[in-house]
C-alpha cells in the first residue's frame, strides 16, 4: 500500500495531525498498536487526572464543552474525549497495528506494520514521550525481597504489599503517587532530586492561567536559552484534583510523608540519599518565586491588580535537618520501591540511524527531522513551544508541522516533475526528432503528477 503520509500513534498528537492533514486533503493513515488513546487506556493509573484545567484541554477544532471548565479531566474521560474526537474528524485510524520498522525508501519511507508493508512519502511520529520508564542503574542493587514497580505498571495502592514504600522522584507523578500511597496506610518515603515546584493556583487563578497569560507557554523552542534542559525538566509538582489542592513537598510533609534527598546508590541493601536536599529545595523555591515575580509584573503591567487578590508568597519548603541519609531496604521496613524517575520515548523501531543524538534522543528542529526529509515528530515536551508538553500544544504544533509537510510533498512533486521533464528532454535529444514533442512531454509529466498519490 502507498499513501502520502503515515502517522504513528493515535493519541492526542496523532489525531491532531490527522485532522490537519485532512484539512489539507493529504491522504494518510494513522497506525496504532492498540486502540485510540492506547497509552491512556493501558498505561496510566486510574486516579490520574490531567495537570491542565479543562478549559485548556483542546484539540484542533474542538474545545472543552462540558460544565466544569476549571476541573481536571480524569484519565477515563480523556479516553472518551479522544475516541469521540477520532470519530468526529473521521481519522483514518488502523487499530491493533504495531509498527515494527520505519526505514527510508527511494520514494520516502517504508513502514512495516504487523505483516504489511506500507510506503509513504512522509511519516509523523506521534507515539509520545512516555513509552518506557527511565529507571536508574541503581535499581539493580535493590534487594530482591523488595517489590519494584513503575508508573506504567502501577494501578492503585491495593496492588502493593503492606509496609513502607520508597517513591523515587518528585515530579508530578512522584508527588501524586506518594500522596495516594501514603493515604492507603503505607508509610511513604519520597526521594527528592531536582524538581519543579508550582502552586496549583495563585491569586485566585489556576497556575496554567498564569503560564498562558504571561506568555510563558508560548515561548518558542528556538528562543529558549537551554533547550536541552527545558526538554528534560521533570514535570511540575502539580496534581489535577477535584478541589484544586496544591501537592508540594510541604503538603506531603504535613500529610506525614518523609522527604529524603536524591537516591544516590544502594550498597549492601542500604539506600543512600544525597545530602543536597536543602539546596535542591531552595533552588525550586527560588525558581517558583521568580515565576511568581514575573506573574505579578505582568498583572501590574496589564492593569489587573484591582481585579485579582493581592500578591503573596508561599512558605519556603521545610527540610528536616535530620532527614535520613540512609535507609536499609533489606530490614523489611520498605516493601516496595516505586520508580517515578521519568519516562523515555521509544523509537527503537525507527531504522534510520542518522536521526539520533549521542543521548539516543531524536534530533529534530521543532519537530522537523531535518536529516531525514519527510520525517516529523509530534507530542514531545517543548517540541515547538513550552505548551507542546501539554495536550493543547499539539493544536498549534500540528498546524505548523502539517504546513511544513504539505510544502514538502508539493516540492517533492515539483522536483519529480522537473526530473522527469529533464529525463525526457535528454532522451528526446538523444533520439533526435523521433522523441516526444514538447506537448507530449508536458502531458506525460502531468499524467505522472495525477498518478502519484496525493
Amino acid at each position: 500500500m502507498q499513501t502520502s503520509a503515515v502517522v504513528v500513534g493515535a493519541g492526542h498528537a496523532g489525531l491532531a495531525m490527522s485532522r490537519r492533514l485532512t484539512e489539507r486533503s493529504i491522504e494518510h493513515v494513522v497506525l496504532d498498536r492498540g486502540e485510540v488513546a492506547n497509552s491512556w487506556r493501558t498505561q496510566r493509573w486510574p486516579s490520574l487526572r490531567l495537570l491542565t484545567p479543562n478549559w485548556q484541554t483542546r484539540l484542533p477544532g474542538h474545545g472543552y464543552a462540558g460544565d466544569d471548565p476549571d476541573g481536571f479531566m480524569p484519565v477515563a474521560q480523556v479516553v472518551v474525549t479522544l475516541t469521540r474526537y477520532a470519530g468526529l474528524i473521521g481519522a483514518p485510524v488502523r487499530t491493533a497495528t504495531t509498527v515494527r520498522t520505519v526505514r527510508t525508501a527511494p520514494q520516502g519511507f517504508q513502514i512495516q506494520a504487523n505483516d504489511d508493508v506500507l510506503y509513504a512519502r512522509a511519516v509523523v511520529l506521534a507515539t509520545g514521550a512516555c513509552n518506557r520508564p527511565a529507571i536508574p542503574g541503581v535499581a539493580d542493587a535493590v534487594p530482591p525481597s523488595v517489590t519494584t514497580l513503575t508508573p506504567l505498571t502501577y494501578r492503585d495502592p491495593g496492588q502493593l504489599p503492606d509496609g513502607g514504600v520508597l517513591v523515587v522522584g518528585a515530579s508530578a507523578t512522584g508527588v501524586q503517587l506518594a500522596g495516594e500511597i501514603h493515604r492507603s496506610g503505607r508509610p511513604v518515603t519520597l526521594a527528592v532530586g531536582e524538581h519543579v515546584r508550582l502552586p496549583r493556583s495563585y491569586r485566585g487563578r489556576d497556575i496554567f492561567w498564569w503560564l498562558q497569560a504571561t506568555g510563558l507557554l508560548a515561548e518558542r523552542y528556538d528562543q529558549i536559552d537551554d533547550l536541552a534542559r527545558a526538554r528534560h525538566l521533570p514535570s511540575p509538582q502539580l496534581t489535577g484534583t477535584p478541589h484544586a489542592t496544591t501537592t508540594d513537598l510541604n503538603a506531603l510533609t504535613a500529610q506525614g510523608v518523609r522527604i529524603v534527598g536524591r537516591l544516590g546508590r544502594v550498597i549492601d541493601g542500604v539506600a543512600q540519599f544525597s545530602g543536597s536536599l536543602a539546596n535542591t529545595c531552595t533552588l525550586a523555591d527560588l525558581k517558583m518565586n521568580r515565576l511568581l515575580n514575573r506573574a505579578d509584573e505582568w498583572a501590574t503591567a496589564s492593569g489587573l491588580d484591582d481585579e485579582l487578590p493581592p500578591p503573596h508568597r508561599f512558605a519556603p519548603t521545610r527540610v528536616d535537618p535530620r532527614s535520613p541519609l540512609e535507609l536499609d531496604l533489606s530490614s523489611g521496613e520498605i516493601t516496595t520501591v516505586l520508580w517515578a524517575t521519568g519516562f523515555r520515548p521509544d523509537h527503537s523501531w525507527l531504522d534510520i540511524p542518522v536521526v539520533r543524538e549521542r543521548t539516543g534522543h531524536l534530533r529534530h528542529d521543532g519537530g522537523v527531522v531535518t536529516s531525514a526529509p519527510g520525517l516529523y515528530v509530534l507530542g514531545m515536551p517543548v517540541l515547538r513551544t513550552r505548551a507542546s508538553t501539554y495536550i493543547h500544544g499539539a493544536a498549534s504544533d500540528s498546524e505548523a508541522l502539517a504546513g511544513h509537510l504539505h510544502c514538502f510533498l508539493s516540492s517533492q512533486r515539483r522536483w519529480q516533475g522537473i526530473r522527469l521533464s529533464a529525463l525526457m528532454w535528454l532522451s528526446g535529444r538523444h533520439r533526435g526528432r523521433t522523441g516526444p514533442t514538447r506537448r507530449q512531454r508536458i502531458q506525460s509529466t502531468a499524467g505522472h503528477m495525477r498518478l502519484s498519490p496525493d
Binding site: G261, R262, S274, G275, N279, T282, L283, L286, P321
Partner: protein, 186 residues
Amino acid sequence: MTITDRPVDNGVNVQALLGAREALSAAPEAAQFTWRASCTWRNGTHSRSTVAGFTGLGAEQQHRTTYEFDVDHPECFASEDNGATPVEYVLVGLVGGLTAGVAAVAQHRGIQLRSVTATIEGEMNVLGILGADPSVRNGFEAVTVRFTIDADGSREDLEALIAQSQKRSAVFDIVTNPTRVLVELA
C-alpha cells in the same frame, strides 16, 4: 540592584566558560578530565602531597607551578601538626569551589561583587575514626557554610547565587553524593 555605568567585572571570563561549554558539548571526549595528586609519607601522620598535572581537553595539562600540601594531625592527637588535617582539606576544597562558583555565577548574572567571605564548619564525632563506637560514622555529621557577600544585588539575588553555586559545584556533589572509590596496591 544599583545600576552602575561600569561593566560588571568579578575577574571571571564568562565568555570563555560559555564557549568551552559549547565546544565541549560538540567534542565530548575532550570534556573527559582526570585530576591527579600524588602523596609521599614523611613520618608519623605527616605526608606531603603534590599537584602538578592533569589530563583534559584531549591532552596532558600542567599547572603553572607544582603545588605542595603538607598533611598531618594536630598535637592533641599526639602528632606534630606539620599541616592541615585531611578533613580540613576537604573543607578547603568545598568552600573554595563554592566561592569560585559564586564569582562565576555573579559575573554571568551581571552582579558586581565587592567582597565575599565564607566560613565553613564540619561537625565530627571522633569516636567513629577511633573505632570506639560503631554507630558513629567516620565522616562529617554535617557541614555548614556561611557566606557574607557585599554585592550589587538583592538578598534574593544573593541567595540565588549561592544556590546556583552549590548546584554547579563538583566538590559539593562529591561531598553530598556517594562516589565509587577504589584503593589498591600497585
